[in-house]
């Protein structure tokens, strides 16, 4: 263990050093037990999902599965239109949201960062103000609007709603990202005979890729996890997204909740989020910290 704390860095002496090592150990112990607390619920859920259905419903519960079984997943698949349908629904909505958000916020971010036009500041402030207004307060009219547009119960309609609520953050993020790209690069490209769009597509997109990835992760996670709007807008069981489908699993048919299937569903829903986060952690945290520090 060569790790040293801030304090140890300045102080010397062998007793002090021993103290420092001890303190480091204590800190590791503390950090690790906290880590355990944070990860345990997810691990328990995943472990329960691979128990036998009877064991998953056992009173009192067991900690570790006595045998590994995927029967809970098979039972989960019997609910409604089957778990694959819900995975498809959630994935479709999330991907549509990601694509829509990226396109719209990249264009707008570029426009806000590089161009001058009348009412630009007013527009930008309005976009940001939308961040302050809870989308919950416009859900009722949105619901009626989607009904009138025949978009209720469509994955596309739901993703339109999600795109709208992702836009303020997306535009803010993309404008900041474009701001960090030196104008010289852009000018050089234009001198080479690129049109503006050409230049945006061929040159800038490469440079702002981190920003785009950040926007994409946020759009994906928010769409994947969103609950209230999906609960209201999706009224047919076959169109549910995963979180909504899970609440109906939880209600159970005729008062017979299936805990094993529920935890299988929770695991299926959580896993993509965690994988995505672990893979693209850097961008995710950048978005959070970038937004925070600059905000």
């Amino acid at each position: 263990m060569t790790a040293i704390t801030n304090t140890a860095r300045v102080s010397g002496g062998s007793t002090r050093k021993r103290w420092a090592t001890l303190r480091t150990l204590a800190l590791y112990l503390l950090c690790s037990s906290l880590l355990l607390l944070f990860v345990a619920p997810i691990v328990f859920s995943a472990l329960t999902s691979v128990k036998l259905p009877q064991e998953a419903a056992a009173v009192p519960p067991t900690f570790l599965p006595s045998t590994i079984s995927f029967a809970n997943y098979a039972k989960l698949n019997l609910y409604g239109a089957g778990v694959w349908q819900y995975l498809y629904n959630s994935a479709t909505v999330s991907l549509l949201t990601v694509v829509g958000t990226i396109v719209l916020s990249t264009l707008a971010g570029f426009g806000f960062s590089r161009f001058e036009f009348p009412a630009k500041n007013v527009l930008f402030v309005m976009m940001l103000a939308a961040l302050m207004i809870p989308f919950q307060s416009v859900l009722t009219p949105l619901f009626l609007m989607l009904g009138a547009l025949k978009l209720q119960n469509t994955l596309f309609g739901l993703s339109l709603v999600y795109i709208t609520f992702q836009l303020p953050f997306g535009i803010f993020m993309m404008r900041n990202t474009f701001d960090t790209v030196p104008r010289e690069i852009e000018e050089a490209a234009l001198l080479d005979g690129c049109t503006t769009l050409n230049m945006l597509w061929n040159v800038m997109l490469v440079l702002v890729r981190p920003g785009i990835i950040t926007v994409a992760i946020y759009a994906f996670l928010n769409a994947w996890n969103e609950f209230l709007a999906a609960l209201i807008i999706m009224t047919q069981e076959s169109k549910f997204t995963l979180p909504i489908m899970l609440t109906s699993v939880r209600s159970g048919y005729y008062g017979a909740i299936d805990w094993g299937a529920l935890q299988a569903g929770v695991t299926v829903t959580i896993l993509p989020c965690i994988l995505l986060f672990l893979l693209l952690q850097r961008y995710y945290l950048q978005g959070l910290m970038g937004g925070a520090v600059k905000g």
Partner: protein
Amino acid sequence: MATMQAAATAPTGKRSSMARRRQVIGFLFVLPAALFMLVFFIFPLLMTVWMSLHDWPLLGTPEFTGLANYITMVQDRQFWSSVLFTTQYTVLVTIPIFLLAFVLALLVNLPLRGVGIFRTGYFIPVVIGLGTSSLLWVWLLNDRVGIFNTILVNLGLADKPIVWFAQKYTALLAIVISVVWKTVGFTMILLLSGMQAIPDEIYQAAMVDGATYWGRLVHITMPLLRRTFALALVLSVIGSYLAFDQFYIMTRGGPKNETITTVYWIFNNSFVYFKMGYGASLSLVLLVILTLLSAAQLRILRDDTTY
């Protein structure tokens, strides 16, 4: 919001046709997003105002009723008690989040080897949806099949499984535990970014003066984090004020409607009782409350700290 100033700095070029063309192009870039916001945000917002002046059933024709909904609201005991409850919840959830997040941020800011693993681990619950995490916790906390209760009993912290959702305050505590678990990582990262933005020189100067770790914490870190604290506070308070998923899933507003939040009550009116006009008027009140909260907190934000 400091970025608005950045947007205002405009290079004033010659008024040529080229410049005008660039204006149009720039506007066109922004247009799609602006139209989106107009159609799916500004328009619904105005429609909320319009609906709030109507008796607007789900089936049947809306009827203009002026301010009747607002008058009903004044006498709606459940609404005001839900506002009160939401406030209570916001306070009760924000305090532990901040305390714990601060401790966690300090820990993951230590120069320990492998500290990134801890940071990632503490943050993982943040990427899970609130709805999903509520379904996870409602199972963990169940009095029969829940492992949380088994652990409490095994550790001797409870003599029999606790029926968490039977009483208002145990239910609230259960929800606070689950929400802290899910969101504390978010606040932790915000605070961490604030800590890392504090220039090293300040600490070094303090160390030369012989300041201890705790001394530096109290005299440097905490004061300089004020702005980050304020930002995190705004986000946390607004988020808590809009609480719905966890209550809808974990308590269903019970026991005896004592855990109905404001958004929950709006949802009930609009989508269970189908009083959409009334729901709209409640939404507007919520919006006003939140705007006031944000404005108040933005004032704190504007009180800039310079490093």
